[in-house]
Structures are given as structure tokens and as C-alpha cells.
């Protein structure tokens, strides 16, 4: 069904694009002017030009600048970026440390010093009170001193006193007192704002401005600060990143890890000198998408902890390396193993020895304790999810020539590739889950008795498959050249892929030096995604971001919540998905807020555009002249009025011209 729909969608798209393509095809051999080439390189290899970037690329030379971007280790990183990433501590911690420090403390039940009956009374008295006659109970209770009696009464179930009316009231009072003490203890552990602050302070905390909030928190005892921060909604602390983080840490520590990653993603897009590397990390994360919200049984928000390591350890090191290393790193990372369910995929019939077995133990040297509560889920056998997606989405493409039998065979090969434990999320090969039978994957025999090696063989087969070379090349060309890139270019890239054993840097080089990349067919052919629109706008206007909380929110509002795409397909690579009425209104409103200096955490140099006319401001923000129609609309609309530079800037950022790159 899904495949059918994709075909339908492709057919529908082909039909609507046909007239456009007829023109565009021819234009992929029409060369851009030298000025256009500079802007083209900046628009595709970076998150949009900043003031001064065009001059810099012109100075270095386009080809040399591209070559440099392909070797990020030769580009000194921007010290401003390091400073901004510093408070985001999880970025620099290894996964085990993140898990340890950002997992919530288990809730401790409230235990009062109240004792149980057998601690309070000798056995004979206890019997009398609990199951004796009313007279016996009365006698014992009367013999106790008031303090002790209160304790005994509180520990007694109410129905015991039903026939001892004389102590009913006292019993009720005793229980009530105990209840109150429990509540008091609960309140002591979880103080509310009113317990921590006086009424004036509460008002400031809830709705104060930056200065008022800063003063209030400076005044508070240090140990009170995270408590107060934890009780405030994040938007109240929108302007105080460190307190916002501390508050989130108190409420939902695991969410801090994914939040750090989101903040960092925007900071890097805005400030990194190694722009191509950041564009590629964005591309490949999306290609091998995982979702922060993936549900891992009995371990709430676990995926939030894992995605930062996934990007840093599985994606980033390989974006300019060999494709099969990237594929392997994603296949083995806990974030992916959970996301596409491979962690629980096992040989059919493996129930007796698998992690779902009722008895725990050690099987083939691996502890049989991967699933915290074996009976909590009923299972199990093969899970085809990863086996399918690794071919459909990660390597061969949907028309890459695999069958349902291949899906099953690949899934069988990967059985046993799992995660040690949610509390210790690292890759482990669990042989007791593995299907040791013979498999045939895309015509290759994989002999019986293989083990972990089976999965590695699949990675090898998929990584070197001609369909993979074509599919990956096309995906890259779609991102960097045009939604429907010329086949000749894709073929040349695929040849490079095959010749170089999937060297992604070489494939990119083929693309970036191609005439198609610098052709009219590729010029302004890409619609910006919400993420690209927001960061390119901040870059264009020369905004300085001290905090990216509001920007991350805005990107989500515009339809691209970062690290939160449910489907393994990732966010769309093509423009049609982002052309929406709601989207354009949101972009216009964001542009207005940004240009007016109303986006929290982003500061503008208000003098930079002052005194310029509309064409000059458009040229500054777009890196080129606005289209004649946009220019005419600006001229007509601004005629005879006295509009400020920020107003004109908001119109330019809202224009159709700025929605493309």
C-alpha cells in the first residue's frame, strides 16, 4: 500500500511538474554568471549567506572555498560557537555519563516514622486490638499512654473500631493527623511556589522581565533556585537559558539532553565556520532519521538521551567518509536499534532462551536480562521494521530491487543486534536471539552458523549495491541541486560512489564541480525548509543569538520540530511539502518579529540597514537583486511613504524570493 501510494504521489508530481520540467531540463546546461555562482555555492553549502560572506568567497575563489568546506578539519572553528555551546553540557559527555546524570531519581515512597502494630504492641495485645472482643480492645487501648494510643489508632484499619465507639473519634483524629503529616512531608519534598516565595516574588517569577527575574534569582538561596525554576513554565524563563535548563533538569532531566541538542543545532547552523559539515549532518541525520519521542517500554523519554550521541558518534564522524561506515554506525547505535525495533527482533521460536524467557540467566556468555521485565511484554519473534527500512530508506531505495523475502532475510541476519539494557544503552550482540540458519540476501548466500557476522555481511552487500550508489546520489543531488535533479548528474555521482567504495567526499566533489550544480536549472530551485528559512533569515540580517530557545520553538511552529519526526522517512527533501498557507503566514509573522528585534535571544544591529532604500535592503538580505515582480511590489507598496529599514527588511524576508535558496 505504501509503495503504491508513493508511486501514485510520484505520478501526480510528475504530472504537475511536467511543464516546469520541460523548461528546466534544458537549463541545466546553461551556466550561471560568476556572481551567481558565488551565491549558489553559499546557498547550498551553507545555511545562507551572512553579511560579508559573498565578498569572502569571491576573495578566496569559489572552487577553492568549496574545496575548503569539503575539508572542515582545515577550517578553524568559530570561537563564538564554542562559547555558545559551553552551557550545553550533554554535548561533551559520553553516553554512559549522560544516562547516569540525566536519568530522574526514582520516586521514594513517603515513609513516616509511624510504626506498624507489631512494633508498638506485644503480640498478645496486638491480637486483642485486632481481632479480640470490643471489651478486650477497649482495655488495651485504655492502658496505653496517649502518644502511643494515637500511634496504634492510626495504624488500625477503620473498620476495626466500628464496634468500639468510644475510640472512633480518637481513631479518626489520629488517622487525620497522620494524613496531614504525610501531606506535609510531600509538600516538603515538592514545595510549591508559594512555599518558596512571598506573593510579590511569585508575581515576578511568573511574569517578570529579564532584569526582575535576574534580580529575584540572585536574591534567592542557591539551593532554592533550581526548585523555583522547576516550577515555572519554560516560557517564563525564555530569556534566562541557564535557569530554564536547571528548571527543566528538575522536572524532566532526560529532556534536557534533547533540548541541548536542539539549541546546539541552531547555534551551529548560525555560527559554525564549517557550514558544509553542518548541512551534511542535518542531511544524514534526516536520511537515517530517529525520533526523540520513540517509546521504549518502561523507560520514559529514553530516546531523548540517545539522539545526541547518535548524531555525534554515529552520524557526524562519517558525513565526509565512507557510506558503509555511516550505515554500520547507525545500524549499531541504540537510538536506531530502539527506533526501528531491531533490539527486540529475535529468531522465531526463541522464546525459551530469549530475553522474553520467563527465567533469567546467562546464555552463551551474555546475560539474559535485556528486557527489564520479561513478562511485561508478550513476544516474540522476528521484527521486520529495520530489515525493511534499511533497504527502502537507507540504501537501495523503494525501487532498488529487493523483495519481501529479502526483507525477512535481512531481518533474520540482524537478529541479536540489540541493546544491553535501557540503563546501560550500548550495542551488544545477543547470540541467544540470533537466527543461525542460512539466508539469501539479494542473491548472496549467507551461510548458516554466522552470528554477528551476518549483519556485517548485509551492511557490506547493501553498502556496495549499485542501487545504493544511485539512490544515495539522487538523494544528495535532490538536496543540493534540484528537487528533480538531472539523471546525467546522478549517474556520474553514482559512478564516483562505486569507483571510490562509497567515498562521500568524492561524490560531493563530483556534484559541486558539475556544470549542473552551477546551472540555471539549479538556480533558486530549492524551497527552504522551516529550519533553513529561520536560520538563513537570522544569518542574512546579521542577528546575534545568545539563546536559541525561541528560534527552536519557531522552527517547530513552522512545521519542522527538530529531532521529532515520527516517520523513518525523515522530513521531506522536496519543496512541495513546505508550500502551505499556514506555513507562509507563519514565515511572514516570523520575519516581522525578527526584523523588529522581537525574537527572544536574537539581537540585531539596528544601524546596519539604516538609511538604505528597498532595492539595497533586498540586495543585502537576498545576496542578489530581488526578482522584478518583487521589486515592483515593493516599489508600489512603499511609494510615498516613510517606512523604516526594519519594516522593509521584514517584507524582503517574507517575500517569495527569500523562501528559496
Amino acid at each position: 500500500m505504501k509503495r503504491f501510494l508513493l508511486l501514485m504521489a510520484a505520478a501526480a508530481m510528475a504530472a504537475t511538474c511536467l511543464s516546469f520540467l520541460a523548461n528546466a531540463e534544458g537549463r541545466f546546461d546553461k551556466k550561471l554568471s560568476p556572481d551567481q555562482q558565488i551565491l549558489q555555492a553559499l546557498n547550498r553549502l551553507t545555511f545562507g549567506p551572512r553579511p560579508g560572506d559573498i565578498e569572502q568567497v569571491r576573495h578566496v575563489g569559489v572552487q577553492k572555498w568549496i574545496e575548503l568546506q569539503l575539508h572542515p578539519d582545515q577550517i578553524p572553528e568559530n570561537p563564538e560557537l564554542d562559547a555558545r555551546l559551553k552551557p550545553l553540557a550533554t554535548l561533551r559527555m559520553d553516553l554512559a555519563a549522560i544516562v547516569k546524570e540525566y536519568t530522574p531519581e526514582p520516586l521514594q515512597p513517603i515513609v513516616l516514622p509511624a510504626m506498624t502494630l507489631n512494633q508498638l504492641l506485644p503480640p498478645e495485645d496486638m491480637r486483642k486490638v485486632q481481632i479480640g472482643t470490643a471489651e478486650e480492645r477497649t482495655a488495651v487501648l485504655k492502658s496505653l499512654d496517649p502518644d502511643k494510643r494515637r500511634q496504634v489508632l492510626a495504624a488500625l484499619p477503620p473498620n476495626v473500631l466500628a464496634h468500639t465507639p468510644e475510640f472512633q473519634k480518637e481513631g479518626e483524629d489520629a488517622r487525620k493527623l497522620q494524613q496531614e503529616e504525610m501531606q506535609k512531608e510531600n509538600r516538603r519534598r515538592n514545595p510549591q511556589l508559594n512555599d518558596l516565595l512571598n506573593p510579590d516574588q511569585v508575581n515576578v517569577a511568573r511574569s517578570g522581565n529579564k532584569e526582575q527575574l535576574t534580580a529575584l534569582f540572585a536574591y534567592l538561596d542557591p539551593e532554592k533556585r533550581p526548585l523555583v525554576a522547576g516550577l515555572l513554565p519554560p516560557q517564563s524563563l525564555a530569556v534566562l537559558p541557564e535557569l530554564r535548563r536547571a528548571g527543566m533538569f528538575r522536572r524532566t532531566p532526560r529532556l534536557v539532553a534533547s533540548d541541548d541538542l536542539k539549541q546546539a543545532k541552531v547555534f551551529r547552523a548560525l555560527y559554525s565556520n564549517r557550514q558544509l559539515e553542518e548541512v551534511l549532518v542535518d542531511f544524514w541525520f534526516n536520511h537515517f532519521n530517529v525520533d526523540q519521542a520513540k517509546n521504549v517500554p518502561q523507560t520514559q523519554n529514553l530516546e531523548h538521551l540517545l539522539i545526541g550521541s547518535y548524531e555525534r558518534d554515529a552520524i557526524r564522524p562519517h558525513v565526509l567518509g565512507h557510506f558503509k561506515d555511516l550505515l554500520l554506525a547507525t545500524a549499531r547505535h541504540p537510538a536506531m536499534l530502539y527506533y526501528l525495533d531491531n533490539w527486540e527482533s529475535m529468531a522465531p521460536g526463541g522464546f525459551e532462551v530469549g530475553p522474553f524467557a520467563p527465567n533469567r540467566g546467562v546464555v552463551n556468555g551474555v546475560p539474559n536480562s535485556i528486557i527489564p521485565s520479561p513478562l511485561a511484554r508478550q513476544a516474540h519473534g522476528l521484527n521486520e521494521n529495520y530489515g525493511r527500512e534499511v533497504m527502502e530508506l537507507h540504501t537501495l531505495g523503494v525501487k532498488g530491487g529487493y523483495t519481501q523475502d529479502d526483507v525477512i532475510a535481512v531481518a533474520r541476519c540482524f537478529t541479536g543486534w540489540t541493546v544491553r539494557d535501557p540503563a546501560n544503552p550500548e550495542f551488544v550482540f545477543a547470540s541467544f536471539m540470533h537466527d543461525f540458519g542460512e539466508k539469501t540476501v539479494l542473491g548472496h548466500k549467507i551461510a548458516a552458523g554466522g552470528g554477528e557476522q551476518d549483519g556485517l555481511q548485509v551492511i557490506d552487500i547493501l553498502g556496495h549495491h549499485p542501487s545504493t550508489a544511485k539512490f544515495i546520489s539522487r538523494e544528495l543531488a535532490q538536496r543540493f541541486v534540484a528537487d528533480d535533479p538531472p539523471q546525467a548528474l546522478v549517474d556520474r555521482m553514482a559512478r564516483t560512489f562505486t569507483k571510490t567504495d562509497g567515498d562521500l567526499r568524492a561524490v560531493l566533489e563530483t556534484m559541486f564541480t558539475s556544470p549542473e550544480f552551477f546551472s540555471e536549472g539549479a538556480w533558486q530551485a530549492k524551497v527552504k525548509s522551516p529550519f533553513e528559512m529561520v536560520v538563513s533569515a537570522v544569518r542574512a540580517i546579521g542577528g546575534e543569538a545568545s539563546d536559541t530557545y525561541a528560534l527552536v520553538q519557531k522552527i517547530a511552529d513552522l512545521g519542522e520540530p527538530l529531532y521529532n519526526k515520527l516517520e523513518p522517512t525523515g522530513y521531506p527533501n522536496t519543496g512541495d511539502a513546505w508550500l502551505s498557507t499556514t506555513g507562509i503566514m507563519g514565515r511572514m509573522n516570523f520575519s516581522t518579529a525578527l526584523a523588529s528585534g522581537l525574537v527572544a535571544g536574537v539581537k540585531l544591529d539596528s544601524t546596519r540597514l539604516e538609511g538604505n532604500d528597498a532595492p539595497a535592503i533586498a540586495r543585502d538580505l537576498l545576496g542578489r537583486d530581488a526578482s522584478p515582480q518583487t521589486q515592483a511590489a515593493l516599489e508600489k507598496g512603499l511609494e510615498g511613504t516613510d517606512h523604516t529599514a526594519p519594516f522593509i527588511a521584514s517584507l524582503v524576508l517574507s517575500s517569495p524570493d527569500f523562501q528559496r535558496r
Partner: protein, 416 residues
């Protein structure tokens, strides 16, 4: 009451000041008089506890499974066990048919039940047994199993657009278009309608002209649609709005606000065919009853206000509610319930054959419960929705809307 004709003329005049009359409005005016059927889907996110909302008070096991949580049987009734011990503060119920009772916090819906405009389907749900909010919502919104499709059932349930189709044909009363409404047909999120307000009138008119004259065909069209929708929403919002029949949206929280905004759009003949609204806060793992009463008051108050406000228009409107799954039949150790399976759906509106509890009641004995712990599902949610899609929206076949689903005999939820 503002008639369609007056609105169309009024809007055209109002818009003349802002630029050209939207082409959609002109087209719509020409098909004036053609009645549009409206289907409103309301999602209760977080897994609502069906057993304490539509209470099976005649069932002995209900009280046994929930010694602390069971809601009192309707006054004058005793539970089947003959016991009539009512826990403190466990609220009241409103008898429906001697077997089921509405949670007392749903008093606002009683009048609709009596008018036979409210039908209840018991033991509904989806085959998804993940007990994951996320997976199960996704299943229910996409309307299909396994590999999720990118679009939602309510989008697929709409006919393909024609000349008289409004840019507001499918509206989500929230900041985003939810999965339920996403897809090929145009669907717009109408948050608190602030989104469709550019604030600066000068900027709006310059940008409208910029997009209208743009050589960028794709963005040009999108911009044009957006400005059409914006004008429509703004002109609707410009006139003061007075709910009819004493409808009170006010105390009903976000859902009340959403439905009031929807009511405005419907009454202004904005061309709505499908709408979506949602209400969260149903995930009661502890201290359930007071929280449930609170959210039920908002929920039923908002639904009742919309029905009241719509008056005779309810003849063309059907509302349907759903939640991703129900909760455990047995209470947990914190006076709450955990993730379960079967739940309930409400169907409201003029065309509804109401005043009746539909669906096969599976029972609460251990062997009758799903996996020994949750209310079983005897009516697939797609059966309910399918009946409305065919009977109300006039689709011939639910096959394309719910691929792979075989509908059984209709329940007969709508008057024929």
C-alpha cells in the same frame, strides 16, 4: 442571524477595501444554497477512562475492580451486586438506560441525549495494542495499521476539490494541522486565528500584491490561498459574535475556545466540510476522579455549547469523539488507572439516531477482558467513522479511507 447571502455580500464589501474580492468567494457565491455537510472530529488525547465516563453501573464486576474509584450508581439505582456502598466524593451518575450512566460531570450532555442527538458507542477502539499513546494516536489518526501513511483519515474522507471548494474546507482548530487532517486536500490550521493576522495592514497589502504578482508559481499560489483564508477569517472575526440559545463556551477551556471559533466559521458559511479539535489531560495514573470530573466538565460543556449555538444547523453537522485507547478495568494502587485497551465514542448531531448505547458490551469478567486486564474492543473505531463518512459525507466506499479494513454491518448510528 447572519444569512449566507448577507455574509457573502458583506465580506465582499469589507474586502473590497483590502484588495480584490477573493476568487473563492466569488465561486462560492455562485453555488449559494447548496448545503454542506460537516463532520467534526474531536480527539481526547491521553487515553480517556471510558469505564468512569460511560459507567457500566449494572455490572457487578465494575465495583469489584474499582473499590475506590467506582462512581456511585444513579440515585435510586443499586448496583447489580445489591451493594450500594458509595465511596466518599465519588460523584454521581446520570442513568441512561438502566445499564449505563454518564459521569455526573457530563450533565451538559443530558439534554442532547434526551433529544436523541447523542449516541454512545461502547467498547470501541483500535486493533493497536501497543498501549503507547504515541503509536495508538498515530494509528487512530492515520486510520490504518502498521507502516503509517503520511496522511489522515479525515483528509482522505473528503471529496477531491471542486470549483466551489473553500480554502477553509478542512480546518484544524489548533496551531498545526494534525495527522487526522493532513493530506492531499487543502487543510488549514486556524489556531486562535492570530496566525492569520499579519498585524501590520501596510505589510499585509504589500505582501498580498507581491505574492499575487509573483513569477514564482508555487509560492504565488500558496500566498494567494493564504491571503484568501486570512481575509475570510479576519472578516468573520471583525463582527462581534454572540453565541445563540444561551450557549456558554466560556468556562470550557481550550476546547470551548476552539469550538466557538469553529462555530463562527460555520455560521459565516465559510465552506467548512471537516473540522478537528482536541482536548488533552486524560492520562490519569493517580488521583483520577477529581481530575476526570474537571476535564469532563470542560469536554461536555464545550460540546453542548457548540450544539446549542448551532441551533437548526445541527441538521447538517455530526460530531464524533475518540481517544487512542481506554484504561485498565482494575484501579491501580494510586486511585488511578493505567494504560488499557477498549474505550468509547460519542456521536452527536441532528442526523444522529441518538438516545441509545450502541455496540456489543464485552463484559468485565477476567476471561472477557482483553489480555485479562482491559475492556475488550468489540467495535473498531473505523466502523463508527466509516458509517459517518458514508452516511453523512456521502462517500460510497470507505476502502480508500481505511485501507485494509473490512467494515461489518452498520450500527445504524444515523437516521436514514
Amino acid at each position: 442571524m447572519l444569512t449566507r447571502r448577507i455574509f457573502l455580500r458583506g465580506s465582499a464589501i469589507a474586502m473590497a477595501g483590502m484588495g480584490a474580492v477573493p476568487s473563492w468567494l466569488a465561486r462560492a457565491a455562485s453555488v449559494e444554497g447548496k448545503k454542506r455537510k460537516i463532520l467534526v472530529a474531536i480527539f481526547q488525547r491521553g487515553a480517556a477512562d471510558g469505564l468512569n465516563i460511560v459507567v457500566p453501573f449494572a455490572e457487578k464486576r465494575y465495583r469489584e475492580l474499582r473499590p475506590n474509584l467506582a462512581i456511585a450508581p444513579p440515585s435510586g439505582q443499586t448496583s447489580a451486586s445489591g451493594l450500594n456502598i458509595v465511596g466518599p466524593n465519588n460523584g454521581t451518575t446520570i442513568d441512561l438506560d438502566g445499564r449505563f450512566a454518564l459521569n455526573g460531570a457530563m450533565q451538559p450532555l443530558k439534554a442532547l441525549w434526551d433529544k436523541q442527538q447523542l449516541a454512545i458507542v461502547e467498547a470501541t477502539g483500535s486493533p493497536d495494542s501497543s498501549r503507547s499513546h504515541f503509536d495508538a494516536q498515530d494509528y487512530m489518526e492515520s486510520g490504518t495499521s502498521g507502516k503509517t501513511m503520511g496522511d489522515g483519515w479525515l483528509n482522505r474522507a473528503l471529496p477531491t476539490a471542486g470549483a466551489e471548494t473553500s480554502p477553509l474546507r478542512a480546518v484544524a482548530m489548533g496551531s498545526q494541522v494534525p495527522r487526522t487532517l493532513r493530506g492531499e486536500r487543502q487543510a488549514i490550521a486556524v489556531g486562535d486565528s492570530q496566525q492569520f493576522n499579519l498585524g501590520n495592514q501596510d505589510a499585509a497589502s504589500i505582501l498580498e500584491n507581491m505574492y499575487a504578482t509573483s513569477a514564482d508559481a508555487q509560492w504565488g499560489r500558496t500566498g494567494k490561498d493564504a491571503f484568501e483564508a486570512m481575509k475570510l477569517i479576519q472578516s468573520i472575526n471583525r463582527s462581534p459574535y454572540n453565541p445563540q440559545g444561551g450557549a456558554q463556551y466560556g468556562p470550557s477551556g481550550d476546547l470551548g475556545r476552539s469550538l466557538q471559533q469553529l462555530a463562527r466559521l460555520i455560521k459565516a458559511d465559510a465552506g467548512i466540510e471537516a473540522a478537528f479539535a482536541e482536548i488533552g489531560g486524560w492520562d490519569h495514573h493517580g488521583n483520577e476522579n477529581p481530575q476526570l470530573s474537571n476535564v469532563l466538565r470542560q469536554f461536555s460543556g464545550a460540546l453542548a455549547a457548540l450544539c446549542q449555538d448551532m441551533g437548526d444547523r445541527m441538521e447538517d453537522i455530526v460530531l464524533v469523539t475518540m481517544s487512542e485507547f481506554g484504561r485498565t478495568a482494575q484501579e491501580n494502587g494510586n486511585a488511578g488507572t493505567d494504560h488499557g485497551h477498549g474505550s468509547f465514542m460519542l456521536v452527536l448531531g441532528g442526523p444522529v439516531q441518538g438516545g441509545k448505547v450502541y455496540g456489543k458490551w464485552p463484559g468485565l469478567e477476567k476471561e472477557q477482558l482483553f489480555e485479562g486486564r482491559d475492556l475488550a474492543v468489540t467495535t473498531d473505531f473505523r466502523a463508527v467513522l466509516g458509517e459517518l463518512i458514508c452516511g453523512h459525507l456521502g462517500q460510497k466506499d470507505v476502502g480508500p479511507v481505511f485501507p485494509g479494513f473490512q467494515p461489518s454491518d452498520p450500527l445504524g448510528l444515523l437516521r436514514s
